[in-house]
């Protein structure tokens, strides 16, 4: 007798980087998680710099700023800015979609299936466009300000 096996869509920890059969939103979710963890890491470094160096006075602060003022750290700062822009705007999309905005009406699951997120993917693409534009604005300012 043939066994009916459910579709294997449990990805485990591997689902943090590989989306399997899932679509665009799953990759946005992975990026959301990566940028969130990156910003958390930066936050801890940032708090250490702005408290321990700040409390020791002007000379220590200025020497620390001189150390941080090189292309490597500037690139890191730019990546933090990009991560912030992505996490903020994608988070806004997640909040709106959780509350039921920017989604199609739910329909009965009759073939051909249509999920409500895919019907309004144009909104998602519009938000991705805004993210890219803001990243370019930040990039322009980093270039003008000097690396």
């Amino acid at each position: 007798m043939r066994q009916i096996r459910p579709r294997q869509n449990y990805l485990g920890v591997g689902g943090w980087v590989w989306a399997g059969n899932y679509k665009l939103e799953r990759y946005l979710y992975i990026l959301h998680r990566v940028t969130g963890l990156g910003i958390l890491l930066f936050l801890l470094i940032h708090l250490i710099v702005t408290t321990f160096f700040r409390i020791q006075g002007q000379a220590v602060w200025e020497s620390a700023m001189r150390v941080l003022n090189n292309p490597l750290f500037k690139t890191g700062e730019y990546l933090v800015a990009v991560a912030f822009v992505y996490h903020a705007l994608n988070g806004l999309r997640l909040i709106l979609q959780e509350l039921g905005f920017m989604m199609g009406k739910p329909v009965p699951p009759i073939y051909p299936y249509s999920d409500s997120l895919r019907k309004k993917r144009r909104w998602t693409m519009a938000i991705m466009g805004i993210i890219i534009i803001l990243c370019l604005v930040f990039f322009y300012d980093f270039i003008v300000g000097g690396w």
Partner: protein, 120 residues
């Protein structure tokens, strides 16, 4: 029910951070574009500029409020990621308590510094 409120707080703090951290990022990183619009911040990361801001109680309040909402959002998000690994109830308690202790220590230290140096 408790988890519902934790998640609701995650959404509310997310919106607050988008506003407060948006101000912070525009100030710190878009100073050349702000100058084009007539707002002159002359190097916001310099000691002089930072001291001017840290002597104003409104800036100290904004930074401490930002610190509080960011710490909640970040540490609750980290806890959610860790709990997705489906740890046992005992591990979950340890994770929760460690994260709460960590958050309180960071908040106490990082809000003490601007308050202690407010008029210095």
């Amino acid at each position: 029910m408790r988890h519902t409120y934790l998640w609701l707080m995650q959404l509310v703090t997310g919106v607050l951070i988008a506003i407060l951290l948006g101000i912070h990022m525009v100030m710190q990183h878009l100073e050349d574009i702000l100058r084009f619009f007539g707002v002159n911040l002359n190097d916001p990361a310099s000691w002089q500029s930072m001291i001017e801001r840290s002597r104003e109680i409104i800036w100290a309040s904004i930074y401490i409020a930002l610190l509080a909402v960011v710490l909640y959002h970040a540490l609750n998000g980290l806890r959610n990621i860790i709990l997705e690994l489906t740890p046992s109830a005992r591990t979950e308690r340890v994770v929760t308590r460690t994260i709460i202790a960590f958050g309180i220590i960071i908040f106490a230290w990082a809000s003490y510094v601007p308050m202690a140096l407010l008029y210095r």
